[in-house]
Symmetry: C3
């Protein structure tokens, strides 16, 4: 049977293929698709390397590493796209990652987990705290959009300054949420950690496992470089390739790129859900959304400010609607701490409906 690891190993083949496609000029569409596929296993290796290093350096610095590199793939793609001036695509990727984690990842987890188990539970306090932090973060990054939508003719520079200020507040909240989870309330998070470790090493004794830190730091460096490299190929060909494929930049940013950047985490969340560890599965999905909104988005705003790119938090108004919808449905379904296959279907249907809406969404003038 094809399992997750085999598929990831096979996808590594797309690294040389995408590079060949670039130098041999096989066309934008080929380069774009192959570099997308090549990023999937690299993101998975980045996750593995971070976790192995975390085992060596201990929970404190390890937790910090996980918190910083957790969405590193998306961050690298977004920074390269930002540098290339694809501001709207970067914004779309932010909303798309939030929507994708809450609806697609959580939906598949609840659906596939629910096919095996009549009812699954995930009452953990972790999910609850993460959800509150995510709600705040999502609302905060959408406020400039709301202000722009309700105040016709507002000055761009006001939105940029407001966005930078909001970004700074969110990064402070992110740091405080790390203090909460690693220092003052770390005991709440022990269960999840334990399950997480168990996941990685069902065969060996966790205690006797001593990863070679130099090896894994090397792996992390190589993988990070390769992700950056492939992201360059992806970003360079994005506009031409997507227009050849009949897709808008909005659809690419909201639907396509987040699936590529999150594929490995998606697989993890679904796998643990099928082992009836819904606590961990929901934590991965909600935690990843939270990290996007509390850390990745603010970093991109501040990076854009330094790069001189007009990166603010003024999204397409329909992106605001989509994120609010995703948050409301995810809250409504997860608030009782129980799930079944139909609830998974409801989340997937919400994702499908939003995906359709973005597919049909007309290209608005001024949108790259």
């Amino acid at each position: 049977m094809l399992n997750k690891n085999n598929i990831l190993s096979l996808l590594l083949l797309f690294i040389p293929v995408s590079i060949a496609a670039h130098y041999l000029e096989w066309g934008s569409a080929v380069v774009f698709v192959t570099s997308c596929l090549a990023i999937v296993p690299l993101a998975a290796w980045m996750g593995t390397a971070t976790e192995e290093i975390a085992v060596v350096v201990g929970p404190s610095i390890g937790g910090l590493l996980n918190a910083t590199f957790g969405n590193a793939t998306e961050l690298i793609i977004a920074l390269i796209a930002l540098n290339a001036g694809l501001v709207s695509v970067v914004k779309a990727t932010i909303t798309g990652s939030i929507i994708g984690n809450l609806l697609l990842v959580m939906g598949f987890s609840m659906f596939l987990g629910g096919l095996r188990y009549k009812e699954q539970e995930f009452q953990s306090v972790v999910a609850r705290v993460n959800a509150s932090a995510m709600n705040l973060a999502v609302i905060a990054i959408l406020l400039p959009t709301a202000m722009s939508a309700t105040t016709p003719g507002i000055d761009e520079s006001i939105l940029q300054r407001l966005s930078v200020a909001v970004a700074l507040i969110l990064i402070i909240v992110y740091v405080l949420s790390l203090v909460f989870s690693m220092k003052t309330h770390s005991y709440l998070f022990d269960v999840g950690m334990a399950e997480n470790e168990e996941e990685g090493e069902t065969e060996t004794e966790a205690a006797s496992h001593k990863p070679n830190i130099f090896l894994w730091v090397g792996v992390l460096l190589v993988v990070t470089l390769l992700v950056a490299l492939e992201s360059e190929l992806l970003v360079d060909t994005l506009e031409e390739a997507t227009s050849q494929l009949g897709l808008t930049a909005l659809f690419t940013g909201v639907i396509l790129l987040p699936i590529v950047g999150n594929a490995a985490e998606h697989a993890t969340a679904v796998t643990v859900a099928m082992k009836n560890k819904m606590d961990l599965s929901v934590s991965v999905a909600v935690g990843s959304s939270m990290q996007i909104a509390l850390f990745v988005a603010p970093v991109l705003v501040i990076a854009g400010w330094f790069m001189g790119q007009p990166m603010d938090l003024n999204f397409n108004p329909f992106e605001l609607v989509a994120v609010v919808v995703a948050v409301l449905i995810a809250n409504s379904i997860s608030s009782d701490g129980k799930s079944n296959w139909l609830e998974g279907i409801l989340l997937l249907a919400a994702y499908a409906v939003l995906g359709l809406a973005f597919y049909f969404h007309p290209v608005v003038e001024g949108f790259v």
Copy 2:
């Protein structure tokens, strides 16, 4: 004392009266009001006939019958109005049915039930699953409106195609929710069913009750024909009568028609609430909203597409606001699984405020 059955029997007199009013040309207002009143007992008989047939054909096909004919009256009125080109009235009826079930029906149930019992409970998993499905469905049918509102100058044909695609997804979800409630998780719904049966036959033994299926199929056919007939009278006179009564088409569609179409279910929900069966009462209200959003609305969109009527899911933006408000308040009040008379008052007040807003809402150009 005037009980529910006596009132329904008396209202049957309006069938001949409305027909007489039509042929003897007593004026649009008289025909409109009498046909409205005539539909109320017919809707009740349609419900009774469906339930009796369901007893004979068994829970599976019976459940399917209930799921299909549960909102048959509203569907028939809407189809006839749609055929007559009253697209905006049909849309208004959809939002009005959702609002009416969540606020008016649930409000009266909680208020009148709460006058008898200090605190009532309805922690059933059924209410929870229904609420999640309804949240999804409501959001899905409002997405085209949100897209239209946030994208000035969007092409009508895009909204129509998006609406049809959303409708198809919702019908798939509806079928899957029937699989959930009748096959994979039917045990969750047994309690509700049992209470429901008990309701109908407090005197006789449920086991010994064997309805005559031919009789009830005959009743169902006759009643369906009469509903259609009365709906024709109602739709024909709607525009003239409401303008004579000083009402806008929007107010008629959102407030008046849903009360007529749902009167029988309203009575049921309130009656069982007063018997302290809040589980069933809330299930009726929330389940009916869910059915409107997951089944009736999609069917109308697809029917409109075949009829060549411009029926899409692009509502008046204020209808969107009203439905979102109704869903949020209903969720806020029902989420703890307890109710008291003040919570009923809060729901009724919300309905009154929305009703006032629709009453004062100016006639917008282009609205039939």
Copy 3:
């Protein structure tokens, strides 16, 4: 150590200072700031006097007094501002009071309480009923705004009539909620009351405490007169002073005035939170928001109608966004009945983000 009572006593000095500043013409900014500071201890004394009188007249009339005078300071400031024609400032104060209670007061309570206690609980039914009533009220007072925003070119007189009708419904709901808390379900509120009393008199026996009613009625009269007086100074200098300080009227109304009017309650909520009485703390914050929305706002609409001022419930659309955001975050954080310091930080961060947005919000034409 500087405790709450010492600070309040010191602030009383600003009463003569503000009056001197007015007569000696020390400038608008000085009068404005000193009258703001003078109102803080007066509001606290008004609260104390009301509670002492309530002890004498018994729970029924006492509860009524508390319910009416609970936000008397804000009401007096708003009425004087309304009479001076500062309609937009009055509206901004309403939204600002709701936001401030839900985010700033509850945020500080949860944060400072959470620094002392790992996890605090507040599962009381009172918080739940208040939250539902507040949700309704907030939605109701925002409906005219939603109608105005979704219906371009709507007539002002329609919004005014709708606002008055909504105000009347809300006042009825307010009266019914008093019947609920004082008559039919008073037992639910006994715990909160008991804690409240205990708060005031940890040293003496509550039973043996007999306040002199004539003394306290006198205090209440004098304090009310002084509040009115200081409010006149505040309102007279508001426009000139705030423009000198570089603030917009919107920011002053939404952020500054509610802090002044609510300072005493803020102190109470935080103090009891630090004594681990989160039930009471949350009740104060949510209850005060509820009172603003169910009582103060409707009274102001009706008063404006009598004064001939164009006071309706048509707010700045971004105010609507801010209030909805505040309600959603407060619901999300309080719905589980538990709190910790990070949740306090999340509420404060939300308040900071909204405050920034209002600070950056451009002055819209037509806004006084």
